[in-house]
Amino acid sequence: MARLDAVTVSYGRRQALQAVDARFLPGAVGLLGPNGAGKSTLLKALLGFVRPDRGRLRVLDMDVVEQPLEIRARIGYMPESDAHIPGVNAVTFVAYCGRLSGLPPADAMQRAHAVLQYVGLGEARYRAVDTYSTGMKQRIKLAQALVHDPDLLFLDEPTNGMDPRGREEMLALVRDLAGRKGVNVILSSHVLPDVEETCDRVIVLHQGRVVAQGPIAELKGSSRHAFEIRVKGDVERFLAGLRDAGVECHATDEDVMRVLIAGDRGARDLFALAARCGVQVRHLQPSVQTLEDVFAQAVGES
């Protein structure tokens, strides 16, 4: 679907992407990373908005530098920031985007109506886009990206500024597009649950580098075991003991900790450590690794 080979992109002296190697396979792929990790830059490089200093980018088996127009005819892009054509209503805007993408006028208008219905703006399609709420603007950005029926959709923070219901509906649309409509999706977000709910695979970026990539299920089922644990006694000493033993630990609700143990160690080792630290284990429950754990490990290790 898309691949980057040793891609470096700089803004002045700052390197936004550093020798990035990544493969976006068909389906829905999440692009994760904290703010400033280089997610938007990566999307913009794939779109041809920024030219890489080094490396090669290919989208849909075409070179981004050599065939940018052919690529853009087959992709849709939903930008992160508010973006629309000023002074027109929704259906005119979306139809216009269809025509810019090469659709005949009648087809563009027909698809604009259909796509606006699909994203839930059917009732508001004759309203000026300037008067839309934040959530509606997110939806219309998706509509303009979809109107020409792309093979690949770039979604940059699609749930930004949406209320919980709107967010759920947006994620349902993404799932539907990727799962039932055969549209490949690259979803860039710093909201982990959004990616976990919609994507099969993930690429984690941190400080312009790829720090993890692969199927989410595989990454979650890595060689680490997760436990929720509550102890009574000298918690600080226990925490220090965990750190010394190379066990990753995150605070969750109140006094419950979430620990991740690598290798073939398990609950028995936790009990032994607690005994050595003189604390009493009051609660110990095996848990599953979440994407958050994978993300924290990837970002923490880099």
């Binding site: 803004y11 002045g12 002296r13 700052r14 913009k44 779109l47 041809g48 908005f49 920024v50 127009l69 052919e70 853009r72 005819a73 992709i75 849709g76 892009y77 930008p79 920031s81 508010d82 973006a83 629309h84 054509i85 000023p86 002074g87 027109v88 216009y96 985007c97 025509r99 810019l100 993408s101 090469g102 659709l103 005949p104 087809d107 698809r111 259909a114 796509v115 219905q117 699909y118 994203v119 839930g120 059917g122 300037d130 303009q144 990206a145 979809l146 020409h148 029926d149 509906e169 349902a172 649309l173 539907d176 597009l177 409509k181 055969g182």
Partner: protein, 280 residues
């Protein structure tokens, strides 16, 4: 009911090859301008001079006493001079918000994520302004020539001044291109159409004021007319219409000044029209 139950169908129809998007942008821009009534009023006023001159041509052709107002190449040159005000107004009206409004609404990244190049985007925007400017300069000037022929019932004037058709076309193109590309360049520098309009007016007035000041300082000499945006264009226009140049500046220098304005505007547009803002 989940909203995606409304359905989404894949598209199996035809698609045009990339390269035609500029026409879509131009068509939409022209349509949008024509739907604004105040703009139509401006266009109507811009054609008043044409009607007045058409009446004068009629009288000159049919009333012997009106021979004094018979047309000459200078008449057509004067027509362009008198249309200068409307060139300014139409350029501001049609061009000030052209890119500025897109920048305000972040529309550039929408445009440039479609299968079109930056040149096509600028070409489409330029075509809108140029079309309306041609409508108030080139079209009425040519139509006046047609009127003159119709009123006299003879092609002798056109034959005698065969250079007029190319002169009208060349000068109108130059005038329209300079005004359009300058306006677009200024429009790409801001997100406020109003500010762009003021900037354009300022640029025209300031360069003229500098020229007039230098003229005063040098005791009435006009050798420095090249510093003025409009004076340079006027000087080139005089040469194209084969009338006595109004300033001492060699016309080649004036032409160079006009070419520099066009080149500078093109450079600004190339720097400012991008899908991503480079801030580093």
């Amino acid at each position: 009911m989940p909203i995606h139950d409304h359905g989404y169908a894949r598209y199996a129809g035809v698609r045009t090859q990339p390269g035609r998007a500029w026409a879509v942008i131009a068509g939409a821009g022209i349509g949008r301008m024509l739907s604004a009534r105040p703009f139509l009023l401006v266009l109507l006023f811009a054609w008043l001079q044409f009607f007045v001159r058409a009446v004068m041509f009629y009288l000159a052709a049919n009333v012997p006493q009106a021979d004094v107002i018979a047309p000459s190449p200078a008449t057509f040159r004067d027509f362009f001079d008198d249309q200068g005000f409307f060139v300014f107004v139409v350029a501001v009206y049609a061009g000030a918000g052209s890119i500025a409004n897109d920048r305000r609404a972040n529309a550039l990244q929408i445009y440039l994520s479609k299968p079109l190049t930056r040149v096509e985007y600028i070409g489409g925007k330029l075509a809108v302004v140029m079309a309306f400017l041609a409508l108030v300069t080139w079209a009425p000037a040519l139509l006046l020539l047609v009127m003159q022929t119709m009123f006299t019932g003879s092609l002798s004037f056109v034959r005698e001044h065969a250079f007029l058709v190319p002169a009208i076309t060349l000068f109108a193109f130059l005038q329209v291109l300079v005004a359009s590309i300058t306006m677009l360049a200024l429009s790409s520098l801001s997100t406020s159409a109003r500010y762009v309009g003021m900037l354009y007016a300022g640029a025209v007035i300031f360069s003229e004021a500098v020229f007039q000041t230098l003229r005063g300082v040098t005791g009435g000499g006009t050798g420095l007319s090249w510093v003025s945006f409009s004076a340079s264009l006027a000087q080139v226009g005089d040469v194209i219409f084969r009338v006595e140049p109004r300033y001492d500046t060699p016309w080649g220098v004036s032409l160079l000044a006009v070419a520099l304005v066009i080149a500078l505007s093109a450079w600004v547009l190339a720097r400012r029209v991008r899908g991503v803002e480079i801030v580093a």
